[in-house]
Amino acid sequence: MLSATEVEHLVERALAGEPESFSALARAHYRAAYCTALSIVRASADAEDVVQDAMVSAFTELESCREPARFPGWLLSIVRRAALMSLRKRGRARRVEDVAAPADEAAPASGGDVLLRGRLLAAAGSLSDRQAEVLFLHDLEGWTHPEIADALGISEVNARQILFEARKKMRARLGEADAGGVP
């Protein structure tokens, strides 16, 4: 993750109209935004659509980011709203990724990858949105507890506690799956 100062400079340069800064901001925050979207929509193709649309709309309204150094938290709140809107449009029917037929044309994956992704998402089905978000941001994107706490507006202690619970549930579900076949 970029430092707050680096993010602030990138936002300022993007506001000044430098195209490369938009790419750099997108590159640096794509995975984190995906983690947040995935924690809500629970399907990788939908999460990618949500992230792309949310990032475009965030960059279009970049002037409304009042604290450029805290851009990541601001972006994630926009992604979260977009993901909830996307769920609402689908009639709140949250779907766990169809392991047999993933419609993810943008990211072609091998059969093994698809199975693994489906297995992980099915296990994450036992987590709350917040637990999934913290778990994905920490264990997939590699954010630290202070970074997660700052972006999500929670305390570091709370972030640690949420992560602990999330891992425990995930391990239990993955263990059940290993013992009894597909979760």
Partner: protein
Amino acid sequence: MMDRDEEKLDLSGLDPVTDPRRLEAVSTLIARRAIAARARKTSLWATLVAYARWAAALSAASAAAVLFLVMSTPTAPDLQPDDPADVVVPSWAEGDAEPTADDILQVLGDAP
């Protein structure tokens, strides 16, 4: 010994952009869409400002025309009597009290 639940889980299977070229392509696409959207927003704003200028100019011209018409139209004749005597003298006739000398002099315009 570290608790098992404190060990990082391997979630690499969920990574949407394992290939750096894909991350680059997606980032570039997002940046292009954002820049185009910002340009559209700016041009929409410029159009609105231009329309607002025309609307303001038109309003000012209309207001000036209305003002000109109002000023140039002759006003209706004043219904107030020019001479107070036209009101006061009939009131003496209608009333019972006789006018005093001062009243009469005031109506005639010779009051001290």
